[in-house]
């Protein structure tokens, strides 16, 4: 308890003791911001130029895979599937 930085409360009316009470208020006062998990965030600015959108500056190339053929041939499942199918080959 000795580490408590708060001096004992002077029983003043909070309305008149802004300065003395400030440190306490700053830590305890709830800020009016919400930590919403999946809420769309307000943008920091209202509008922006076309150059600030991703279509103008695509950093990561394509969004969607074009092919299904680059699969991992070392993958155990595929190997096993191939072997099992071979045991019953098409006539």
């Amino acid at each position: 308890m000795s580490s408590s930085s708060k001096p004992s409360k002077t029983a003043t009316d909070p309305k008149d003791s802004a300065a003395t009470d400030k440190s306490n208020k700053d830590t305890q006062k709830q800020t009016l911001s919400l930590e919403e998990d999946d809420e769309f965030e307000d943008f920091p600015v209202e509008d922006w130029g076309d150059g600030e959108t991703e279509t103008q500056n695509p950093p990561g190339g394509k969004l969607w895979e074009e092919s299904w053929d680059d699969d991992d041939t070392t993958e155990d499942f595929s190997t096993q599937l191939r072997e099992e199918l071979k045991k019953n080959p098409t006539k």
Binding site: Q28, K29, F43, E52, E65, D69
Partner: protein
Amino acid sequence: MTTLYKTFRRALTTKDGALLGSIFSPENPDRRAFAFSTNHERIRVDVEFEISGLTHLRDENTRSAWIETLVSYWKIAYILERDDGADVSWVKAYEGQKDLLLAMVRGYTKGNWPHWTLPVMYQICLSLRTVAILSDDQARRLGKTSEHLEDAARYINKAFTLCISDRAPIEESRKWGTYYIVNLMFKTYFKLNSVGLAKNILRVLPASLADMPPLEAFPKSHIVTFKYYCGVVSFLEEDYGNAETHLTYALNLCKADSIRNKELILTYLIPTTMLTKHKLPTPELLSRFPRLATLFNPICKTIKSGNLQAFDAALRHGEEEFVKRRIYLTLERTKDIAMRNLFRKVVLYQNEENRTKIPVRQFQIAMGCAGRGAGGVVGVGYAENGDGGENGGGGMVEADGDTVMRSIPERMEVEIEEVECLLANMIYKGLMKGYISRERQTLVLSGKEPFPGTVV
């Protein structure tokens, strides 16, 4: 003079709407000094004095609406800044915010506030919602029910009406505030978990659009947010075609460095695209959004491999998060693509010359290898070559994403009729082209693109 008044005077003189709005922002750093600048007896006289002499306020109605608004705002500032720190009464703060909102409404209806002051409306609606949420949280902690957020939605609706009912010429119309307020209503209804009310907005809105500028004419922050919520509503209605259009629009227009918002758009666009286009996100895309990578990587890998049992495990593994994001049911449907890929592998693993006529038995084996998926319990251990047992980790539910993807299913025997049924289903859904020859127990595949869109 308190800074807040100086800001007020400057904003009015220079017609700086954003600056004027910032006064009412929950983050306004000057609120504290404003709260301590006077007391309940003197606040009105102070405000009258501090804002006197402004040309913009020569109209008596305009002036008195501003006085009301600033006095209401001071009362909230007092509650938030001067009431005893630890236990701010959010109920009281909420009542204050409501008075503030009503004063604002009078500003527009009676006080002739011009359209460039719209940011004031935005900030006041935003704060009302924020305080309502905090008040509801506080009530819940105390074991009471609180319906302030629902109440707030009704008040924000008043702002919506203020926007759409403005008859002024469009250049100076409050109609420019419509989408901002609509977006705030969307957010509120989603927070209330009432997607039905969100849909309602979309039903009502078209009637108000007649003499409204086109959406593209609005600021991008309004457009992107609006399109995001339209996309999510379509997604939840399982209207994936429209969801794709709205969400793609939102993504393309989104501010490039707004990572979190892009992440949210993609959370719905990725499952949507899996269904509409049968396409998976590229590794480059996922690598830019670590949260999305964690969310989607396991399921994408298993879709790719066709390992159905691992697909089920990945779905179970992410279930909690998928349900929370409302994407579980959609992802469940992507199992069709996993199965398509499994069947496609069966075809690719045949000798070149045998790829159009394939015994159903081959697909039966594949289904057995893939663990059949969780659907049934036909599971008779398939111990033909003796190693079926020790590979069986694939059915485990609790595993990290990587284990899930790597696992080899416990093999199962699947009835031939079931396999035929699955194949017929794939053909019906357009994922494969061909027909089943029952007398020969053979799948006859189309010579051209038997698996449309997969380059086979």
